[in-house]
Symmetry: C5
Subunit: 319 residues, 5 copies
Amino acid sequence: MRTLFTTLGKQENDVSDIHTCFELSHRDGFWLDIEQPNDDDYNLLEHVFKFHPLTIEDIKHQNQRPKLDEYTDYNFAVLFQATWENETIVPLEHHLFVGPTYLVTVHLEPSPPIKELQDRITRSPELTKSKPAFLTYLVIDTLVDASFPVLDQLDDTVDALEDDITDKASPDSLNRIYHLKHSVTELRRLFGAQRDLFQKLITHGVTLQQEDMTLYYRDVYDHIVRQYETVDSLRDLLTSAMDVYLSTVSNRLNRTTTTLAVIASIFLPLSFLTGFYGMNFTYLTAILETPYAAFWVGVATMVASVVFQIYLFRRRGWI
Amino acid sequence: MRTLFTTLGKQENDVSDIHTCFELSHRDGFWLDIEQPNDDDYNLLEHVFKFHPLTIEDIKHQNQRPKLDEYTDYNFAVLFQATWENETIVPLEHHLFVGPTYLVTVHLEPSPPIKELQDRITRSPELTKSKPAFLTYLVIDTLVDASFPVLDQLDDTVDALEDDITDKASPDSLNRIYHLKHSVTELRRLFGAQRDLFQKLITHGVTLQQEDMTLYYRDVYDHIVRQYETVDSLRDLLTSAMDVYLSTVSNRLNRTTTTLAVIASIFLPLSFLTGFYGMNFTYLTAILETPYAAFWVGVATMVASVVFQIYLFRRRGWI
Amino acid sequence: MRTLFTTLGKQENDVSDIHTCFELSHRDGFWLDIEQPNDDDYNLLEHVFKFHPLTIEDIKHQNQRPKLDEYTDYNFAVLFQATWENETIVPLEHHLFVGPTYLVTVHLEPSPPIKELQDRITRSPELTKSKPAFLTYLVIDTLVDASFPVLDQLDDTVDALEDDITDKASPDSLNRIYHLKHSVTELRRLFGAQRDLFQKLITHGVTLQQEDMTLYYRDVYDHIVRQYETVDSLRDLLTSAMDVYLSTVSNRLNRTTTTLAVIASIFLPLSFLTGFYGMNFTYLTAILETPYAAFWVGVATMVASVVFQIYLFRRRGWI
Amino acid sequence: MRTLFTTLGKQENDVSDIHTCFELSHRDGFWLDIEQPNDDDYNLLEHVFKFHPLTIEDIKHQNQRPKLDEYTDYNFAVLFQATWENETIVPLEHHLFVGPTYLVTVHLEPSPPIKELQDRITRSPELTKSKPAFLTYLVIDTLVDASFPVLDQLDDTVDALEDDITDKASPDSLNRIYHLKHSVTELRRLFGAQRDLFQKLITHGVTLQQEDMTLYYRDVYDHIVRQYETVDSLRDLLTSAMDVYLSTVSNRLNRTTTTLAVIASIFLPLSFLTGFYGMNFTYLTAILETPYAAFWVGVATMVASVVFQIYLFRRRGWI
Amino acid sequence: MRTLFTTLGKQENDVSDIHTCFELSHRDGFWLDIEQPNDDDYNLLEHVFKFHPLTIEDIKHQNQRPKLDEYTDYNFAVLFQATWENETIVPLEHHLFVGPTYLVTVHLEPSPPIKELQDRITRSPELTKSKPAFLTYLVIDTLVDASFPVLDQLDDTVDALEDDITDKASPDSLNRIYHLKHSVTELRRLFGAQRDLFQKLITHGVTLQQEDMTLYYRDVYDHIVRQYETVDSLRDLLTSAMDVYLSTVSNRLNRTTTTLAVIASIFLPLSFLTGFYGMNFTYLTAILETPYAAFWVGVATMVASVVFQIYLFRRRGWI
């Protein structure tokens, strides 16, 4: 699905007669967004735009790293945007071709932030400042900032998980920590590469589009660094959460063992006493025949044993 | 709330007729502090000072990283100062615009160190040496040094926590370690960025204000590095504290289990003996009928069993 | 076993009269692949090609690191390809001599990806674009990409292992984590060196073969970086898996101890009660003689004790 | 307390008429050591030597990082020397002003290595080679090397601690590991900064004193790197020691639990048997009336049970 | 003990008239090896060769780091070779003076690889290619490669240790891991410094000896990097081994506790039943008087209890 915007904000959805469109829009500069590209689109990219076959391969195979490759008359960039699907983080891949007067974006799956930006441009075309360079900046800025809500949600999830651990420490929490760590490690890798990409972009400048956009890309770079650092902190916290889990389980074990020790300490002596008074020694049974006194003395020894134990437990802080 | 200082130390709180003020103070250089900026203030920054819209955005959205952005006729800096609120560390964000003859500081929340510096300048105006560059240095130095007391308090808290762990190892301590580590990780991130910022500032120099302040900023840089290293050590110590926690819990579990083993070791054999003397074998009951001797022999076997156990425990160091 | 390809795709398996072959193919450029080199092959490399004795030593001793050594009229490279044998990762070593018009590859063991590439070239000779530089790129690209399936399999294995741990936590899983970590550490080392090698190659360019292949090697570099990062993540995940293992075992221990505590809590009081009602106090036996009531009261105390315990356990979440 | 040495080795303790001294000694170069500086000394530094107020502040506030600040006609350095006090490591701070013909050292507390060096110079004045540059080197070398004995002692302490852990694993050892780690982390921070300082010093050279001392400072640098690496290894070992502690405690817990299991396994079956023979079934009591046989059969079942258990334990390696 | 070789391979053991030797051999270049240097040797180095006093100090004090110091007409290098003594790794220190036409090696202890190289040169003098530069390379290469067998042995030891842990997890294994980690940390430190040294050497070139040996030293550098990386992996594996140890101990504890729970679960209910049938309730004893039936019903309840437990354990996978 192709969507074409000129820098003047005109959207042309019917881009079948693509050559005419180009000629018209070349004067203004344009942005062509291709969603779920088909063979026809690939042909367009390779034979009309003359993009390098390696970049077409990259789009087809997906699963690239964030990168910025410079070709003689255009740049090819791969950017990722984190999305949150069913408690997991899924990175969406976007491919950008940045030429002197145009921008081509390609993505296999629908991209809500791109859609939203298109709506915003339709509503207020002055956003593009009628410059292809600024249009490019808008697209990149949108893609980068779209990861912030996901990171916020991730942060909340990790916080909730930590509360869950100290509360229950179920094996299920352990599993979730592990899988979150997996996602976060992956995200850190992508954001790390994205950060390096923008650092290069600030240092070298974007030479093809003549506007000086350094100020703006420095801003995008700052956002990406913040995303990277957030993910890095989250990774650290998840490792700590695993330690907290182990400590909580150990603590719980300690409590269980203490309960066991308390029960054994109370009833083992009692059982001994009942056993003692149940022995068949004639001497003993003779004594125990004393009607009341003997019985109550016997019961008193049991009560004393329990009271003594309870005193000991209190002193140790067990109960 | 706006507060204006000239480098001569004159404070002018009534800065509504801002244009007149500027003209007057431009000869001397001035410092304008804006607390909790309103739309009026944003207008002032954007249309009178002509600061770049991106920087205004940064102030409005807050939650930036420490950074130093150079614009053609001014620099824009974001600095953080750690404060301590309800056992948590909260970083306060300050925004600085540094021009050739002026300094503008913006902060959303009241900033005690800024307030204190203003009082000091009012009392002794010679502090500014009548130079905008020195005034800028004073503000930055104040903001940076204001984090030291928080770090000292953090250090004390971590020390107290460690004593608490070896003493009690309550699940509550574990929670506090985790949350402190969260704060410290965050702080380390901010101080790290702040350190890089000042390194850049020392290497490039502050070109806009003509005074050579390298000596002074080197000093600020040293303070920031010390803050960063302190926070880094604290993070290390909190990780160790978590290990100490786990070891303490394990140790405690060992002690509980030892107690259980001691009690079981003493009473299980005793119960066996009482059971033995309570069996219904006619042969046995016949023996046990011997008036005194049998009973005392029976009791003696029990005492011997206990004494033997106690001897064993002592040898193992259990009691 | 020698296999010779010219850039025109002609394969000549009978390369005994090697000098004639060379003369013929020097015009086109060629690729000579030597599998399991014998002394004859070593002679060829040392005395016909005049390769440096140190490189011949490297091939003979194997067990080198990935590297790229520049000699005056050729480059010598060592590349590794990961293969998966019996649940272990085995790195296969390939040695490449890259000259202005030729490429010589040497490997001790059969190399399936090399074989497959040869078949592909035989089928479609246009792949080589009749240029030695492109032929070299094809070989290197093939060797690098051949590690991807192994990494995918490794990823699956680690995932399966993690499920296995939370399910069973057998000592066997622990052993497998340990050995996988060993392999992954080794692989990370090799890919790390390989990454540095290609970074150097992109920066310096491959000067001997005159075609500009930077675009293509940048692509290979991206793949290698992805492999390195994947292996790095896997190493991280295996460390986490070990932590998960320990936590799972602790959790299990907790459950076992809870069971023990439940059983002891139910039966120790019961045993006490039976012991109590079995004591030889005349007073007690007198009471117990009451035909029905006494017995049912006794049984009721036991039932009450069990019910009370079960209530307690439920409240603690033990059963 | 001031002590003045000329490069000719003459010591002048009575340095009240400081101006005369200076004039005299300026021809030779001198070293002025100030211990526990008072206001008079601070005045001397600020108004006679004209040192920058920031450096005077640094001396007063102490608690700086190792650093080397270059001023137009002198360098200001902060160096640390580790000392060992009551089982803790205390870093002593030294401040050095290095001018073209002089050296001024300031320290708040008595510094034994400085004292010792002064004695050595008094005894053999040729040590200074009559050059201020060499005198400076001697002081710095002395301060750096003075940390070696402390590191050796630290190494011994860590080794002793490790033996202690595997022997006893007392909570006290845990505390000591934690506090040693605290000290070592601190020391690593200081030595790290000191190392960077000397690296800078070797690269830039000490420009003020005209002698080329690079050879000598390279030697000092090597010593500092060794100190840093030693401290780094110690930190690593202390982390390992904490792991050893946890493992030892777990091991001990295992042994305690094994003992408990052995005792329970022996006596619970025995108790069952005595209980069995004590039941009130008429059928059973009838059998048990058989004079000898029944009793000995009963005892035999008990002995058999114990023997069987012991056999099982041996097979498991429990006893 | 001095041994002198010329580049022509002539060995002259009687090097007392050292001046004559020098004159003769200066034409060819020579290698002087000094083992266990005495004062006479130190004099030779200091006053005949005119080596810097600092280097003589380094030899005397030993315990240096690997380093390469450049002096105006010679280089001074310290290299380490790992040896394996009584289950510990001992690094042997070698000192090398490399001049334009000569090489002097000094070592306090006998060095088998040096000895072996001397024998090889004696047998085949052509090894030196009659060039001092090549002789130097041979010595350095020999020293570096001599560490490989030690690393192989270390690798085997770590592997054996890991098997030992999963098998027994004795406290002794823990101790050995700890001490191996100590050695490996030390070795990593030395090899790390040695790697940096050779990197410097490759980048700067060895300027004094005019032969271009870069190719050869690049080879030595590769070996050292491999050694460093091996040691680094071993350190990682030893850390993992410690985790495996802890997990194995926990697993074992779990097994012990399970055994305990099984025994308690079987015999506590049985004891309760025997106790129950032994109570003195007249009602109960009346029932129990029924000759056969009652007894067998009683026994049946016990058997049923055991069978039920065994069923439960099987379902949980405990037995």
